[in-house]
């Protein structure tokens, strides 16, 4: 490559990284703003907006709802998605490829379409309980993440390991627990994290299924921004951001992000 081309690529890489990170830095900075209107240059720092998060109207129920739905849908998806992935990767299922595509297809569908489709579908069968419809809808969101990750994880898993464990004195369920689960731990973790995050910040699907008393956190946040755009929201966003970073950092310590991203073994 010529020198010029290398420089262009470098500029691109650095520029894009800044482009992605700067908004996050701005919102973090804004959350410490001493004044209700965020202005540069900063004239000091204050944490008072953080104190006000908890006093936002309907914040705690929404946070609880979002955490509940995200955790539950992730756990259910991990169990069901892994079983489905085993059938596809291992079970000699006729037409396994079609099922695999079907399982991951919601990933490629616009959230709005998915939301409308689910709303209409649930109405058609008379399924209208808000909390339950939200959970089922979020299963549709999270299952593809789990299925995709587990299918590729299982494709690389050597099932002879289970037979080896059995001949070494381990029962079949014991072998799955002692050998398959640890070997697939990185896949479980990455599937779990992405599925949790996908559910936790979903807006386009949830908006169709929420009602006045059942609002997820993203819906509630959009409502706050319309009502009173002060740095409280920036503080909340910064907390969510920090939580995500800690989650990824801890997972990296546990299994290694490079293994999670599938860029190396």
């Amino acid at each position: 490559m010529t020198r010029a081309a290398i420089i262009v690529c470098w500029v691109m890489a650095i520029g894009l990284a800044l482009f992605l990170i700067i908004p996050l830095l701005v919102i973090a900075a804004a959350s410490f703003s001493p004044t209700p209107v965020f202005d540069l240059p900063l004239t000091g720092a204050s944490t008072r907006w953080y104190g006000r998060i908890g006093r936002l109207d309907g914040f705690w129920p929404s946070l609880l709802l979002s955490l509940q739905i995200a955790l539950l849908s992730t756990v259910i998806s991990l169990v069901c998605g892994t079983l489905a992935a085993i059938a596809i990767a291992r079970g000699k299922l006729p037409g396994a490829g079609i099922f695999a595509t079907a399982l991951v297809s919601p990933l490629m569908m616009p959230g709005l379409v998915l939301g409308i489709a689910l709303l209409q579908g649930f109405r058609a069968v008379g399924f209208t309980a808000p909390w339950a419809t939200l959970l089922v809808a979020h299963l549709v969101i999270t299952l593809p993440y789990v299925a995709r990750t587990m299918i590729s994880g299982l494709a690389r898993f050597d099932f002879t390991l289970i037979e080896a464990a059995r001949t070494l004195g381990c029962s079949y369920p014991g072998s799955v627990l002692r050998v398959m689960v640890p070997a697939l731990a990185p896949s479980f973790l990455i599937a779990g994290i992405f599925s949790f995050l996908a559910s936790f910040d979903n807006y386009p699907v949830s908006i169709f299924l929420a009602d006045v008393r059942t609002k997820t956190l993203p819906i509630r946040m959009l409502q706050y921004i319309e009502e009173a755009p002060d740095p409280t929201l920036a503080a909340l966003s910064t907390l969510i951001l920090a939580g995500t970073v800690i989650l990824l950092f801890v997972s990296d310590r546990v299994v290694g992000l490079h293994r999670m991203a599938g860029t190396s073994d």
Partner: protein
């Protein structure tokens, strides 16, 4: 239990997958401390037989007994067999020592005893210095040794090797053959090797079972297998041979005279006059020159292949038949290509096999 009493008994074991019979009434008895090889072409059922013994495949009929216990319906984890898989099947999330300790931990052995047993197993395979390595940081040969150490650490009643050496390169494989045999004799293991490499079978084992299409064609010591093959298949599969087809002229007391396209030959075998047969002899039995009371045939030398201590001479005997002679360096003159020569070999080393059994 005495040294010669049966230790592993496979009796009438059959296994079908859909329409194909993979194991066809297998009978196999192995004594304590014996090293037996299952030798046969791809797809003849070697792995399936091994899996039936390990409990990983359930036979349709028949029984398996190990150390005086009927284990036909015992699940694999209660059989106390050790298996070394072709892919080694080492646990990637554990270290070398963790892999070797796995079976002992599962058995609920005390921490200190495990450490001692792991050290012992690893030093047997000369890997003591790598105990804390990750599996992915080992060479193929080292992984093979870890798999072996893991299998012997639990002191199984029988060790099963499914083409355990085939992933190694030739030189390492030959070293491991010798080392493995020494090691197994040292720990007095009873073992079954699966291989389709005849040299490995002859080097490693006390007895060799030649398998073909789900049946054991012959179970014999390596020497007997080579010198007295029980079937045309066994003859073909182990070692080289000269084979000539013909028709039995007369039979007499375990000996037959056979009319062939290269002349009249005598061979050992029991046949009725008129039966179509194949007459065979090992190449080292053939000598240059014609002698009385021997079989002989002549022809033109087609090729001469020098192989160090021996030279293989292939002779075109006409009518589509060829003779293969192995001449040692001490046999004097080696003929050249296109020479007309006569080869002779003893009747006592000539065998007749039924034609239709040709593999």
């Amino acid at each position: 239990m005495s040294e010669s009493s049966p230790h592993l008994v496979v009796r009438g074991v059959s296994k079908r997958y859909g329409p194909t019979t993979v194991l066809d009434h297998i009978d196999l008895t192995i004594r304590r401390g014996e090293l037996v090889t299952l030798l046969g072409p791809s797809g003849c059922g070697k792995t399936t037989l091994l899996r039936a013994i390990a409990g990983l495949a359930q036979p349709d009929t028949g029984k398996v007994e190990l150390a005086g216990r009927d284990i036909t319906h015992v699940p694999p984890h209660k059989r106390n067999v050790g298996v070394v898989f072709q892919s080694y099947a080492l646990f990637p999330h554990l270290t070398v020592a963790g892999n070797v300790a796995f079976g002992l931990k599962v058995r609920g052995m005390a921490r200190r005893e495990i450490d001692v047993a792991v050290d012992r197993a690893l030093s047997l395979v000369k890997l003591g210095h790598l105990a804390s390595r990750r599996i992915s940081a080992l060479s193929g040969g080292q992984q093979q040794r870890v798999a072996l150490a893991r299998a012997i650490a639990v002191e199984p009643d029988v060790l099963l090797f499914d083409e355990a050496l085939s992933a190694l390169d030739r030189k390492l494989r030959e070293e491991m053959q010798v080392e493995l045999r020494r090691l197994l004799q040292e720990v007095k293991a009873t073992a079954i090797f699966v291989t389709h490499d005849q040299d490995e079978a002859l080097t490693m084992s006390d007895r060799v079972a030649v398998m073909n299409k789900g049946r054991i064609e012959q179970l014999a010591e390596p020497r007997e297998l080579y010198l007295r093959p029980a079937s045309l298949f066994a003859l073909n599969f182990v070692g080289l041979s000269t084979r000539i087809s013909g028709t039995v002229l007369s039979a007499d007391n375990g000996k037959v005279d056979v009319e062939t396209k290269v002349g009249r030959l005598s061979a050992l075998g029991n046949f009725q006059a008129g039966s179509p047969v194949i007459v065979a002899a090992r190449p080292e039995q053939l000598r240059i020159g014609g002698e009385d009371e021997t079989n002989s045939a002549s022809g033109r030398v087609r090729s001469v292949v020098f192989q160090g201590s021996r030279t293989l001479v292939e002779v075109d005997a006409g009518a589509g038949e060829s003779l293969l002679a192995e001449l040692s360096g001490r046999d004097g003159a080696i003929p050249g290509v296109h020479d007309e020569i006569r080869l002779s070999w003893p009747v006592a080393e000539t065998f007749a096999f039924p034609m239709e059994a040709q593999a």
